[in-house]
C-alpha cells in the first residue's frame, strides 16, 4: 500500500467522507470495528495487499476476491465503501484510508495513539502496565499502543507520540556512549 505523502493526501478525503457518513448514519462503531479488524488482517496478508495494489489486476478480480474474503465478515456499509475504492481506482490506498479514519475516530474519543518500538515483544501484562502508566501521565481516556519489535534496539523500548520521542533503549545508551567518547577524547 502506498504510504507516501501524496497517497496520504488522496486518502484523507475518503476517510473524512466515510467518517462523516458513519457519524450521520450512527454506524461509526460498526465501521470502526471493521476497520480495526481489517487493519490487522491486511498487515498479516501481504499477498492480498500486493494483489489489491497491483495495477495489472482487473477491478473485477479485485472485487471478486474482496467479496469472497470479506463480504460475510464486515458490515454492509464497510463493504460498499471498499467497492467504491475499487471503482475509483483507490483500493491501493486502503491502508492509508483506514489509518486516517481511525485517527479521526480516536481523536473524537480522545484515544491517544502511541507508537512503541521494543527489542523484545511485550507480554499482555506489560502492555496493560504501560497503558495504565501512560493513561496516568497523559490524562487520555484511552491509550492505543502500536507496538513494533526491532531487535536492533538490543534492549528496552522507545515511545513515540505526536510531539516526543522517549528513547529508553540500550541502542540509544550506546549511541550516547559513542557521542561521549567522541567529545571527551581530544588532543
Amino acid at each position: 500500500m502506498s504510504t507516501n505523502t501524496l497517497g496520504l493526501k488522496i486518502a484523507a478525503p475518503y476517510a473524512r467522507a466515510l467518517y462523516e457518513y458513519s457519524v450521520d448514519k450512527n454506524i461509526m462503531h460498526k465501521i470502526t470495528g471493521d476497520f480495526q479488524n481489517l487493519e490487522i488482517f491486511l498487515n498479516e496478508t501481504d499477498e492480498l495487499t500486493n494483489y489489491l495494489n497491483n495495477p495489472i489486476v482487473r477491478d473485477e478480480d479485485k472485487r471478486d476476491i474482496l467479496t469472497k474474503l470479506l463480504k460475510s465478515q464486515v458490515n454492509e456499509e464497510t463493504f460498499k465503501f471498499l467497492l467504491v475504492l475499487i471503482d475509483r481506482d483507490r483500493i491501493n490506498l486502503l491502508k492509508s484510508v483506514i489509518d486516517n479514519y481511525l485517527k479521526l475516530v480516536y481523536g473524537l474519543a480522545s484515544i491517544k495513539m502511541i507508537e512503541v518500538s521494543t527489542a523484545f515483544p511485550f507480554t499482555n501484562k506489560q502492555k496493560n502496565m504501560l497503558i495504565k502508566k501512560l493513561k496516568d501521565l497523559t490524562n487520555a481516556r484511552e491509550i492505543r499502543l502500536i507496538i513494533t519489535v526491532d531487535s536492533d534496539l538490543i534492549g528496552g523500548f522507545l515511545i513515540k507520540t505526536n510531539s516526543k520521542v522517549l528513547d529508553f533503549t540500550v541502542k540509544n545508551q550506546l549511541q550516547k556512549l559513542a557521542n561521549h567518547l567522541d567529545t571527551s577524547l581530544e588532543m
Binding site: L134, L137, F157, L174, D182
Partner: protein, 78 residues
C-alpha cells in the same frame, strides 16, 4: 654585505622549511590521533554492544528491563 644577504636568505629558507616540516608533522600527528581515537571507540563500542547483547539477550532480563522502564516513567513526559 653579500655574505649578510646570503645568511639572511638562508635563514628565511630554513624557517620556511622548518615551518613546512612542522605543519606536516602536526597534520600526521592529528591523523594518527584520529585513527587511534577511532580504534579505541570501535573497541569500546564493540565490547559494550557484545556485553549488552549478552546481558539483555535472555528473556528474563529483557522482560525485567521493560518492567523497570515502565515503572520509572514519570512526570510530564508526553
Amino acid at each position: 654585505m653579500l655574505l649578510e644577504s646570503d645568511a639572511s636568505q638562508s635563514k628565511k629558507d630554513l624557517n620556511t622549511r622548518f615551518n613546512r616540516a612542522l605543519a606536516t608533522f602536526r597534520s600526521k600527528e592529528r591523523q594518527i590521533f584520529l585513527d587511534v581515537k577511532q580504534q579505541i571507540m570501535m573497541l569500546v563500542l564493540q565490547q559494550s554492544t557484545t556485553r549488552a547483547q549478552q546481558t539483555f539477550g535472555p528473556k528474563k532480563r529483557a522482560t525485567e528491563l521493560i518492567n523497570e522502564t515502565i515503572n520509572k516513567l514519570e512526570g510530564d513526559l508526553l
